[in-house]
């Protein structure tokens, strides 16, 4: 479904990604792991079209995306939940959710989709008309995920969703990813919490200093203490 | 008032004459330079200061009316006819101040009651916040002393506020160009003064001749007040040169001082002490109906004949008689 090959990206003069190659097939949960500064976020941003200077190839459902702006990638079925969540200040929970639909053809079914989301995220359902930024960090993270999911993307990319969130909520969240997968959504997940992530993932890529240094099935990697020690310890 | 001391205009010697219609400050600045260099300057914009001994030189002539004459003529007409309670709306610069001074001076003869004077800065585009106050004073006459776009907007907005229903608006000077730019509605019924209106051609052969020549030159158009002033300012100097048979400055000055002329509006002459052109002042009212042509914008209500008694005395201006 998603194929990345020889992907390079730069921040100004600094060469952040070097010849990244990875692949995600339909229905999988794929995990990107690696130390701080390894290039995980930059990889997701490059796939979404948010990096200024990139080279290489990113194809999604057979279409080359590298020269396409972000909104075209969204239209093809890519969704992205950034690390900083980006809940819009001044908007209610409902409005933030509606924002996930404004550019989607599914906008016509807005009421119906909002109800569906409310069933999946009961915490949000209770707070629909509250100003979104007044919610707790975990609730805001849920909202960011719900906002990305509401238009039913084919592939959703999540950047460290468990960061700074209390364990109960994290469990709830990972349960959600499992059910997403069950319903056919493909997931590309960046996580610091390696054990937890590998617990639900099918496969994983290990990044270090802007390159892919290892790839394996989640099970194999869970057992590989050496790799985990070398690239993932904080 | 701040005067710019202009430089670089005119050179010494003979054969150069200036004629200008400009704002008071620029006019006085030019006057300063021409005075210094001994160049004849015939001014066609309104100023009282230019007649005063402090500013005048033997080279300065004033073909235009001055505020004292204009407001005097309009005041004498209006205070006798419309009532004694007068409120003022005045542009806050020399022109406005001099006009109000003139109105108050002539107002003494009529025992007018000054209800108040509201000053506004030059370039005001909205008078709506000043008009309710003026209206509340309930004057018989509202005297608006400003010029150009300020006057056009003030009259338009006063009309909108319905001030004309119960109050007569007067203005010292109604210029042809402003009336055309503001349209008939805004100026309707406003009474003011002017130095020239083409419509006096029935009365003076010189006016008829000037209008005809002008029509011929500018495909049928009629001259305006400032068009006529420009003509007068140049024509007098030209005739003086011819009369003197020389372009030597002192001889031309002497010829101008001796000139008794009637080139476009009836008889005129320059008063010896201040070189002010003694001339008639027309009191006019702006029309909004029965206009025969595009220049038919005013009705002449009365004419104040040329007479030195309507000027400030030479002594008052600081000249030794």
């Amino acid at each position: 479904m998603l194929q990345v090959s020889k992907l390079n990206a730069w921040y100004g003069a600094s060469h952040a990604l070097q010849d990244i190659g990875l692949e995600v097939t339909k229905g999988e949960i794929v995990c990107l792991i690696g130390r701080n500064g390894a290039g995980k976020t930059t990889t997701l941003k490059s796939i979404m079209g948010l990096m200024g200077r990139t080279r290489g190839s990113v194809t999604f459902k057979g279409e080359e995306l590298l020269r396409q702006p972000a909104h075209v990638r969204f239209a093809l079925g890519l969704a992205y939940v950034p690390e900083e969540r980006r809940i819009v200040q001044g908007l209610s929970v409902r409005e933030n959710l509606r924002l996930g639909l404004v550019a989607s053809p599914a906008k016509k079914r807005e009421a119906e989709l909002l109800e569906e989301i409310a069933v999946i995220f009961p915490r949000l359902a209770e707070r629909m008309d509250q100003e979104a930024v007044t919610m707790s960090g975990g609730e805001q993270q849920m909202l960011a995920i719900a906002r990305a999911m509401i238009a039913k993307p084919d592939l959703i990319m999540l950047d460290e969703p468990s960061e700074g969130i209390m364990p109960v909520l994290v469990d709830e969240m990972f349960e959600l990813f499992r059910s997403m997968k069950a319903q056919g959504t493909t997931v590309l997940l960046v996580e610091q919490n390696v054990e937890l992530a590998l617990g639900i993932a099918d496969r994983a890529y290990v990044l270090d200093q802007g390159s892919v240094v290892h790839q394996a099935s989640a099970q194999a990697l869970l057992a590989d203490e050496e790799i985990k020690e070398r690239y993932c310890s904080v | 008032m701040k005067r710019r001391r202009g430089r670089g205009a005119g050179r010494e010697g003979e054969g150069e004459f200036r004629r200008r219609s400009l704002s008071a400050a620029v006019q006085l600045a030019i006057n300063n330079v021409t005075k210094e260099r001994g160049v004849i300057f015939n001014s066609i914009s309104q100023s009282d200061a230019i007649n005063e001994a402090a500013d005048l030189s033997k080279y300065t002539f004033h073909e235009a009316l001055n505020p004292h004459m204009t407001s005097g003529a309009v005041g004498r007409y209006a205070f006798a006819k419309f009532g004694k309670k007068v409120a003022f709306l005045t542009a806050d610069y020399a022109y406005g101040h001099e006009m109000v001074r003139g109105f108050l001076e002539v107002g003494k003869e009529f025992n007018i009651e000054n209800l108040g004077d509201i000053r506004h800065p030059l370039g005001t585009t909205d008078f709506s916040t000043l008009l309710p106050r003026l209206q509340a004073l309930k004057p018989d006459i509202l005297c608006i002393s400003n010029f150009g776009r300020d006057q056009q907007i003030a009259l338009k907005q006063a009309t909108d506020f319905g001030i004309k229903k119960s109050i007569q608006i007067i203005a010292p000077l109604l210029s042809h160009a402003s009336r055309v730019a503001a349209g008939p509605q805004a100026f309707e019924g406003v009474v003011g003064g002017c130095s020239f209106y083409w419509g006096i051609e029935d009365k003076f052969a010189s006016t008829k001749a000037f209008n005809d020549a002008f029509r011929k030159m500018y495909d049928g158009k009629l001259p305006t007040d400032y068009g006529a002033l420009g003509y007068g300012g140049v024509r007098t100097v030209l005739e003086a040169v011819k009369g003197a048979g020389s372009v030597e400055t002192n001889k031309v000055v002497a010829a101008l001082e001796a000139l008794k002329y009637d080139y476009y509006k009836g008889p005129q002459y320059y008063r010896k002490c201040d070189h002010q052109s003694v001339q008639s002042v027309l009191v006019i009212k702006s029309k909004s109906k029965d206009m025969k042509n595009e220049s038919d914008v005013f009705e002449v209500l009365s004419t104040e004949e040329p007479n030195e008694k309507y000027l400030r005395t030479c002594e008052a201006l600081g000249h030794k008689s």
Partner: protein, 291 residues
């Protein structure tokens, strides 16, 4: 001078609101554009002026004021779209000074073009016949047309509010003003949004110019004065804040009006005094986020 009656003060208040209404219309466009595009549109006054001239032209070829109320904002809005697309868009990402200088220059070009096409002297602009004259509003006579200006402004504000609060596009604008990146990630073509916002802002400026025309006639320089005063309004209200622009616009109108009552020669200065006070008391005011 005569004493201050209740009626006079009430009348001044109305005069202030009518005056403020034009400021409000002018400033909301300015704020909308700044909030969304971070472009300080120095040509806003020129769009306002061209709005008045388009109205003048339409009436001269047989249109009436009511047609102008619809046609002028459309025409100026389309013109604004073209300006954004062709002139401003290439400058995004280069810092705030580029579009500022461009629009500054553009305003001179627009004023000069109007001078060439219509002449340097102004024209009268008749108040539409049914709105002529003054009506008794209980505290005294007030020009009917100025009441209409207050009403028309209220209608525009209501329409804009409904558009921003109740439509998806309005939601995009509100979100995009805070965080253009996330809006992009959620599939919105942000450059299209910027284009349309510029069009809406300039359309409202054109509408304001048309409304102002019967108050003061039209002249090529008419946009200059209001631009300076509207910047005060946006500073007082918070750059980019639409709600702030509305409140500040009315406040400036009322302050000018009340100052005129007590010290008319201070009226113009009072606007800038108000700005100074706001800047001292609330230094972050000029960079408030939009509502």
């Amino acid at each position: 001078m005569a004493g201050l009656s209740f009626d006079l003060i009430a009348l001044q208040l109305f005069a202030g609101l009518a005056l403020g209404a034009i400021y409000v219309l002018f400033a909301i466009g300015l704020s909308l554009i700044f909030g969304m595009l971070t472009v300080v549109n120095f040509a806003h006054g020129a769009f306002y002026m061209v709005g008045a001239y388009v109205g003048l032209y339409l009436i001269s070829i047989g249109g009436n004021f009511w047609i102008c109320l619809v046609a002028v904002p459309i025409a100026i809005g389309l013109f604004g779209l073209a300006v954004e697309r062709v002139l401003i868009r290439p400058l995004y990402g280069r810092g705030i000074d580029y579009p500022l200088l461009l629009t500054f220059g553009l305003s001179y070009v627009m004023v000069e073009c109007v001078r060439i096409a219509f002449g340097k002297t102004g024209y009268p602009f008749d108040t539409p016949e049914v709105l002529q004259g003054a009506v008794d509003i209980g505290v005294g006579y007030f020009p009917l047309y100025r009441l209409f200006v207050i009403g028309a402004t209220a209608v525009v504000l209501l329409a804009l509010w409904l558009f921003l609060e109740k439509t998806s596009f309005g939601l995009i604008i509100r979100a995009g003003a805070r965080d253009p990146q996330i809006v992009r990630v959620l599939g919105v073509d942000v450059s299209r949004v910027w284009l349309i916002v510029f069009g809406i802002g300039t359309a409202i400026a054109g509408f304001a110019g048309l409304l102002a025309a019967p108050l003061q006639g039209v002249i090529p320089e008419m946009g200059g004065t209001i631009l300076a005063e509207a910047f005060v309004v946006t500073v007082v209200g918070g750059m980019g804040s639409i709600g702030g622009a509305v409140l500040a616009g009315l406040l400036v109108g009322v302050v000018v009006s009340m100052t005129s009552l007590f010290a008319p020669e201070m009226a113009k200065v009072s606007i800038f005094a108000l700005m100074a006070i706001v800047l001292i008391v609330r230094p972050q005011a000029s960079s408030a986020a939009p509502d």
